[in-house]
Symmetry: C2
Subunit: 464 residues, 2 copies
């Protein structure tokens, strides 16, 4: 039985097994694998154990590989069967859950909610990013194994636990063990659909620079009644510096920041324009209506092909209830940049640091800590593997799959290209309203079910 | 025996009783009477009970008077003895203790530390502000009672529990019960010395406007990879608005903000200049050296006679360890203004709100909450009571007492003047390095001891 012949039976199996596959996903979602907070290190280990055990049931040789940080799970074919060899990448770690009070139900107590309009959703931290997404691939493999006794092609799986904190251990691991992972193609399920009915393949990724900035003024907190008016206030210093990053037109003012940002070819720009993404459609879903980026750009450019800067967090002084007339000793912010084209992350980081330093008074101090440095990435959009994947997605969803640029970063995909010489196909089933990284994160049941069916088809297509 | 004749014995008694008076202060300091946090309401009640019980031992009729907030303690003479009647005001509530990790020892576990240079200090939250300070007055009264069987003049005591959160209940209480408290003179011990060897009487107070500002953009937290570049970021909006408050010369740019700010008469300005307060002396003690206020003003003006604005706290987005690529839904800040002269607190508040609103994009929202609205106050500096007090202080400290303006606010002093028609003498023994409102707050043992002796002398002088 060829993969093409077996496929209908595999798809039937996925349909019949849906409840059991959901039960497995729920067990996985209950693990509180928050990677950014050291307090959850044990839970990350538990998540790695869960994945390793599960992958072993697919007929793969599964092992946990220690790193300087949270462990990696690697699973490989017992033997080489010839034909194309793929490397599937995903991550078992999830984002922090705060503010916890905004969750309708506990973030690690997964549940199905019926929205009543034909949509059911899975609600939990990680339901989408990336536990739900990576399990679509694992469940597709499980169905192949159940129906045919094996997978249709050689699959190696790499699941890390530090994607949400910059994949710090994975980069050196891949470099050191490059020979193990130089295969034919990488597959990643950590991106989104163009819309609930239009599948997409992501062929470009924005890069990332993420910096902590800590400003220190006096060597202790001060009483603003005694020192106010004379002592430098680190919140004033920090807000003044951050406020200078964007000009009134939403353009970033850091010198040379736009070096290496390409102008789109007219035909690609026309394609983007034709998608006609309106502020009402994209921003309306989150209660906004005015695009906040560069005012001379289309909204779809702002979110996919233009570099950006956001302050992701800020804290300083008294933040409790009521009033405290303090002048803080310290204030800090987390600032991230999304990069495109050939922007150099190191140059962007250094220019940013210089920009901030130039705005710090002589008797104050500024410190920086880096949490991410990844360049942007452009992948081919017409390779045979892409064309096969597009067809498989169209077969499942009944709509042409579009190739798009993604605003977010999956840093390791760049290393797959640079270190392993391997292209990546990024297919995912997240929707814009999935509340990824936010309270009440969800994943549509249809994303999970049809996502699993999609991977079953893609595996057959790539094996053919 | 006249008060003047009794005074030496009273002072001797204070010296002999020092250890016991410290033990009483320590019991008081152990009560965690943080008024801004509702979680500590019971502790505030405990502090009120402590004070009421203690005042009853002075031969006063002591009672706890409920308010809408934390209770007031009122103690009155059992009968009128003729002669001047004074009202002593203080507060039993203290500031929050965060950041707790910066305390060398627990904030409510008072201790004596020997600095080894002849100075001993009392370390605890409230050691200075205002438990230590108010107990200098109470201990002076106790000594008078012990030595002479009575107080040298009619003393009414009013100790509130909401000074650190704006004295919200005290204002209506004083208005409603004005007849009870219309006496001859108010005394307050909540201010500082000019230096460790120079006592001072505070004759002007800056007013206060304190506002919470909450900016809301999207109706949920967003992933900066998906929405970055398109969605408005409330931290960006807030930092831009706050950064606009001060210009490059440290001047506040809010329209009409300086209305009602008087220029000092040349002779007063000359007096201030003669004090020769240097940045090294005043800012050097906290690790700074460059005055941050209006660049065309003397440092001593910045901290006493000029209005100021400080951001006392700011928070938004992810503030934990590591990286989270979120665009927050909300960001907020606490902003306070110190007022002088005839600045109208309501006008300043409204002008500030207009200033911020004008900087909020059309699809974002801003809300305000007020935590304080008090005008500045100027008291006479040559009344007979002031002259007597200056002499008493000089007798104790061996140095001429200076009359100064204070940067901080004691809002109720304004009401004593406006509602009760009564001047206030503000004498206190705090030092600039007392870390009031900060971790490791302290009060010099000399401040406590000689402060008690100072009040014993002032009471005798006012009775004469």
């Amino acid at each position: 039985m060829t993969p093409t012949e077996a496929l209908p039976k595999v798809l039937d199996h996925i349909d019949a097994d849906l409840d059991a596959s959901l039960a497995r996903l729920f067990d996985f979602l209950k693990v509180q694998s928050i990677s950014t907070d050291p307090a959850y290190a044990d839970q990350c280990k538990r998540a790695a154990d869960f994945v390793a055990k599960d992958l072993a049931t697919l007929g793969l040789t599964s092992e946990i590989r220690p790193t300087g940080g949270h462990p990696l799970v690697i699973a490989k074919p017992e033997k080489q069967n010839g034909g194309p060899r793929v490397l599937f990448y995903g991550h078992y770690d999830v984002q922090p859950v705060d503010p916890l009070e905004l969750w309708k139900t506990p973030p690690f107590d997964p549940r199905i909610e019926d929205l009543g309009n034909g949509r059911k959703i899975i609600v939990a931290r990680g339901a989408c990013d990336d536990k739900g997404q990576l399990m679509t691939f694992v469940e597709a493999c499980r169905a192949w194994k159940a129906v045919t006794g094996t997978l249709p092609l050689d699959v190696t799986v790499m699941i890390e636990g530090e994607e949400e904190c910059g994949s710090k251990s994975l980069f050196p691991f891949v470099e050191k063990n490059a020979d193990e992972f130089k295969l034919d193609l990488a597959l990643v399920c950590d991106t989104g659909m163009w819309s609930p009915t239009t599948p997409s393949i992501t062929t470009s990724l924005r890069g990332l620079v993420y910096e902590d900035v800590i400003v220190t003024a006096a060597d202790r907190d001060l009483h603003s009644g005694l020192f106010g008016g004379a002592a430098q206030n680190p919140i004033r210093v920090l807000t003044k510096a951050l406020a200078a990053i964007h000009d009134e037109n939403g353009r970033i003012t850091i010198p040379d920041f736009y070096d290496g940002v390409p102008e789109l070819p007219p035909d690609i720009k026309a394609d983007l324009k034709a998608l006609d993404l309106t502020p009402a459609e994209f921003l309306g879903q989150v209660g906004l209506k005015i695009p906040a980026g560069e005012q001379d750009r289309m909204l779809i450019e702002m979110i996919s092909t233009r570099p950006t800067c956001d302050v992701n967090g800020i804290i300083g002084g008294y933040t409790g209830e009521g009033a405290k007339t303090v002048i803080a000793s310290q204030a800090s912010a987390k600032v991230s940049f999304r990069l495109v084209g050939n922007q150099d992350p190191v140059k962007v980081r250094d220019a940013f640091r210089d920009f901030i330093r130039a705005r710090i008074p002589a008797d104050c101090k500024v410190e920086f800590e880096n949490h991410g440095l990844a360049p942007a990435l452009q992948l081919p959009f017409d390779s045979p593997a892409i064309l096969k994947t597009r067809q498989a997605l169209q077969d499942e969803w009944g709509a042409k799959a579009v190739t798009v640029g993604a605003g977010g970063s999956i840093p390791i995909v760049g290393d797959f290209k640079r270190v392993l010489g391997m292209d990546t196909i990024m297919v995912g089933f997240a929707l814009d309203d999935d509340r990824v990284h936010s309270p009440n994160e969800k994943y549509d049941l249809a994303s999970f079910h049809k996502g699993t069916r999609s991977w079953a088809r893609i595996l057959a297509a790539l094996a053919a």
